[in-house]
Symmetry: C3
């Protein structure tokens, strides 16, 4: 019941500050992994999907088509609701598939299925590791009794799939080295713990944890073992120490274009352009806006690579693209409501992310580490922490984030309501409101008086005030001093 729940939240917020109610704190810290984690609503009595207001006479077939599309696009809420009544293993499969797609912020099992198909096309062993990672991350979240809604949205699985995949990708023992599944399972099961810990921190700023748990855990594994390890050797990564040979005449334009889908594929560590293409399709199914920003991000990454004189092989391989893909999706419509200003911001973020990506890759290669998706996480967090006076740049509350199209509808609705209220309010001409405000002010003044008294008592303890240079105290300063207006009056009356 999101409506009621929200109302309750407001109550708590008003009466009880963050520190006093550990329950409230706990609750909000359980929430904010990445997106809408409300448990699927049971009270939704409307038989049709509420997003599609039902077929009207003049629209007929089109509406019916849209309704059909709504069943497998977006976050497939109807399917999710239906799943709740199914066998547990089937539910778990749904969560795993959603987890696979959540890497790209997509809460859609169909997209997840297509993504697994793409992974299988790339490499069976990698796909298996990815599946094991998602599965055990989800199971671990269940054991730790994390928020069921978040688990059902796949928010505890996406770090698992990346951990599993990338551990397989960077292993130097080649495919089908079965022992690798041991650290894979251990680190996947650590995912929900790290996610929950980071969410406790990030929730203070209403920020998601993105793929930080994956970054932390995979870097942990790679650097803990390293290239020179008997059990789990890693691919050798070394810092660049000489001028790369770049001849602009040698550039291969077709490969350069191919690097756009490859960049999308590299989000999952895949260098097969067909796999990247399949991923793009899976994004389009759920959200065309996400899909467009993914392609745009990959292109921005490619351009940045050229601008910063990166070796062509790196660009062809998609290493400049995948972080920008994620950053561009995150800013462009996912956590901000999409307006043209936000669109520009997303492009700026993608450029910044590419720059950051080059920097982080160079730093981490010193330790034999790949850059993972650190650049995406850091750049997206920076842009989400941005506060601006531009009203068209609206950051959605984390609990309201779903997918770009729905986020946009939410934003439009807010805007419309504001307009109505503005017009409305001018009419009522603030009669009753004024009265109520006055009452509140009286209440507040009493509160302030009490605070004043507390301060007074506090100060009495400090005692030894230096009252030399009294004449230097500027007149104007008196109004600067925050909490003294009241006591001042009292003083004036008595002096």
């Amino acid at each position: 019941m999101p409506g009621t729940h929200s109302a309750k939240d407001i109550h708590e917020d008003i009466n009880c500050p963050a520190a006093c109610s550990s329950r409230a704190a706990k609750f909000t810290e359980l929430q904010p992994l990445m997106a809408n984690i409300e448990p699927p609503r049971e009270h939704d009595n409307s038989p049709v999907d509420p997003e599609q207001p039902g077929p009207r006479n003049q629209q007929g077939a089109g509406a019916r088509f849209l309704k059909g599309v709504s069943y497998f696009s977006g976050d497939m809420k109807v399917f999710g609701k239906w799943m709740e009544k199914q066998f547990f293993l089937l539910q778990l499969l749904d969560w795993v598939l959603r987890g696979a797609a959540q890497v790209m912020f997509v809460n859609n099992p169909l997209s997840g299925l297509i993504i697994f198909a793409g992974l299988i096309l790339q490499n069976y062993w990698w796909a298996l590791n990815g599946f094991v990672g998602t599965l055990f991350a989800t199971i671990s979240a269940l054991i730790l009794q994390q928020n069921r809604g978040a688990i059902a949205s796949g928010l505890y699985g996406y770090n698992g799939i990346l951990v599993g995949l990338l551990m397989a990708v960077f292993s130097n023992k080649g495919d089908w080295y079965w022992w690798l599944l041991l650290p894979n399972i251990f680190l996947s099961m650590m995912c929900p713990i790290v996610s929950s810990a980071l969410a406790s921190i990030n929730s203070r700023w209403d920020l998601p944890v993105f793929t930080l748990p994956f970054n932390i855990l995979v870097c942990l594994h790679i650097v803990a073992t390293g290239h020179y390890n008997h059990h789990f050797p890693q691919v050798l990564i070394q810092p660049r120490s000489e001028l790369p040979n770049i001849t602009w005449a040698e550039i291969d334009v077709s490969k350069l274009f191919m690097s756009v889908p490859v960049g999308v594929g590299q989000v999952y560590g895949c260098d097969n352009p067909w796999t990247g293409g399949i991923f793009i399709i899976s994004l389009f199914i759920s959200s065309p806006i996400t899909c467009a920003h993914a392609v745009l991000g990959s292109a921005v990454g490619m351009v940045s690579g050229l601008a910063l004189a990166a070796p062509f092989e790196d660009i062809y391989f998609g290493l400049w693209g995948y972080n920008c893909v994620l950053a561009c999706i995150a800013i462009g419509g996912m956590f901000y409501a999409l307006t043209w200003q936000v669109h520009l911001l997303a492009i700026a973020c993608a450029f910044f992310c590419a720059y950051l990506g080059s920097a982080i890759a160079n730093v981490m290669s010193t330790f034999g580490l790949p850059s993972c998706t650190w650049p995406f996480c850091l750049s997206a967090l920076t842009f989400l922490l941005l506060t601006t006076g531009i009203s068209a740049v609206f950051k959605l509350p984390l609990a309201k984030v779903t997918y770009p199209e729905k986020n946009l509808r939410y934003f439009w609705k807010l805007k419309k309501q504001e307009k109505i209220q503005t017009a409305d309010k001018e009419r009522i001409e603030s009669e009753e409101e004024q009265k109520r405000i006055k009452e509140e002010v009286v209440m507040n003044e009493k509160e302030q008086l009490r605070l004043e008294l507390e301060r007074l008592e506090e100060r009495r303890g400090e005692g030894e005030a230096s009252d030399d240079k009294d004449e230097e105290v500027e007149q104007q300063g008196t109004e600067d001093v925050r909490h003294d207006d009241l006591t001042e009056v009292a003083v004036a009356d008595l002096v």
Copy 2:
């Protein structure tokens, strides 16, 4: 007076959010170093130690024995109270000894004394440096007028002893290089500053600072001077760059078993197994639970080292153990109340800590740095930030943390009270409460109305709402929008 003090805290929390009262903020930021820092209670009229409810007839001798034990086990509260009336230098000695033991979360001067004995057994010069470090850290805390209760619990000393010891351990000038005392004193005196600063940050999440100040300051010293320094050269530490030679046939089982006490000793940088054994005894005196988890942690570290194919010398030397020792103590009963779920969590944390230890050691060796206790700090903080729905995993409020046995009693008491209240409440059948809740709801609604008005005025300023696509706004969305239920009604009345 902890009861009164707490009640006052609640008052402040209710009426005054974190931002408004700088006094409250200051107070809470002074508090949260590591454990129970309430100043010893003067109003404690009961002549016997309240933890031991006095000899009863049926228990007689046993109770008297337990009471005797209580005088020098746990946190030796009676002794601490007695100390308050003594000569200042004697008090300072008490604080220094408690500081020495607080490295292992033990607030007990007897344990501290035994630990110093162990250090002297290891190396006179190191013991001297450790003593100087603890002493000056405590003095600096006194100068900076930090919380007296925290100082008396040794919470400002434990970073000092580690700074002093490890600076001596890693110095390349050998023993009795007297100039080393200069940076030792300077950095020890910086400890309370760094502690206080970190506590300001960590207190927001009710987290202790652990040994982070020590880690920061020792790494600072080592990397600021480095191996190639004329005045304060450091031991040369270099990253591994080739496959270590590990032959499983060569493993020495007796040394492997010895690595468990050595691991405990390495918490203080000591590689003598007898020293480690003495430390284990000192832990047992204060708290058997702590002692058991210390040994368990060291064993887990050893196993992890074998699993990750570490060179045997490192394992024998206890380098895989000491972080796990601390992590296992911290999670297993110290900051969580000990239940079997928490016990499993502590073991998981120890494994994670070992993994992390290997990773951090590899990263830091690039800079010629040892890994210090960074792995412990980071893994323990991660596990303390974890939020879970499991009711048996109860994180104690930082102000209530003392030692595992007492923490457990506190937890049991809470549980029992809950049970009584639950039963009780079902009886009274919520008559008066319902009434009161209604009153509160009315109050809250008034508050909300005021907030609505503020928002309305805010929005009026934003003005330019985009009202196209109005028909797309979904019905269901209306209840999603948090703060509009009230104004909506007004609108509906007027349209």
Copy 3:
């Protein structure tokens, strides 16, 4: 209207915790960049500068002289107010000049002008890059609609000038490599974004962002391109790997003395002692306290370099000074009110900063990075996070920070008012106050009861309390348990 604004803030703080009102959060996060960012007041009707209470008969000429000085010393508020009515480009120039001076915490366009003169004396190309950086950072802040008062104080420009300057300094392509302006403009325009993001975080602890955005962005640029880059190669920086040759007989005392102004100059990356001297003059114009602490900091840095056996060239080159200069200014009067205790704290901070500087320089040279002003930022933030019981160490609220002299007057005024109030309060003998407090307590008790009820309901959900070992629950513990005093009574009545 700072007075009104503050009063409103208090209202908000009291009634509405941080989490509930996104507006309030946004507002406070927009604020806390570095200093007094209130928009220049229009309502200031007093024709003369209010800081100088007008010429009095007995002072005559002296007062008139002081009044004249006040027009171009301090933050030149009168000039700033006059500027508001001028042409936009002229305003922009004012903001750029203030931005140039804000690197040293000086909000004064005249100082900025002198600093630019010093830069031109050093190197035309660097000065140009610095100007471009400040300009585009300010423009970017305008585009992003950041707080106008902060922009007008130059708080969005100072990172820009450093980014521009240092990118030119560390470029390996030599002067007048025009392509460098491209990344310069891009990164300068990123400054306000990074500033705003960091302010969102730091504002939680009422901390400024210092030069962190500059550090992040310049390190980003240097490490993203590196020494081996075709387009933007950087100067080669490598870690020290052998014992430097230090012969104390070779020390050059005149160069050592010269290193003090050079250290001040190195804040802007300039090694010309005359440029450093000009900077010192520019500081003196605005604030003699700032100037004195700058020189003191540079001297402390030099001494630290000698103590830690740094190569003499580094000391002569001012590399040990510039961080200490900034740290000493920040602590010595800028963010703390200057008392002799704070003065000692500033010196301690400068020493700590020098230590940290050496450490960070060694770590960052591994990645081919200079240490920038990271040491200053980290050490100053540590000392600002310090909480202490010493009443003479008074940290100004960030919104009240202007320049040391004015900060001091604010502190004295507070002290004086406290004294009056203390005396006053003893007279009224808390008659009415007591009454009011009682009323508030009644209110609070009602609040608490409500909270109790919430907790009761919460606990009922948790249910399975373990009530074994009930007899072990200590008597004294009952008052420890925070939130049970009330319910306990109810229980006692019924049992």
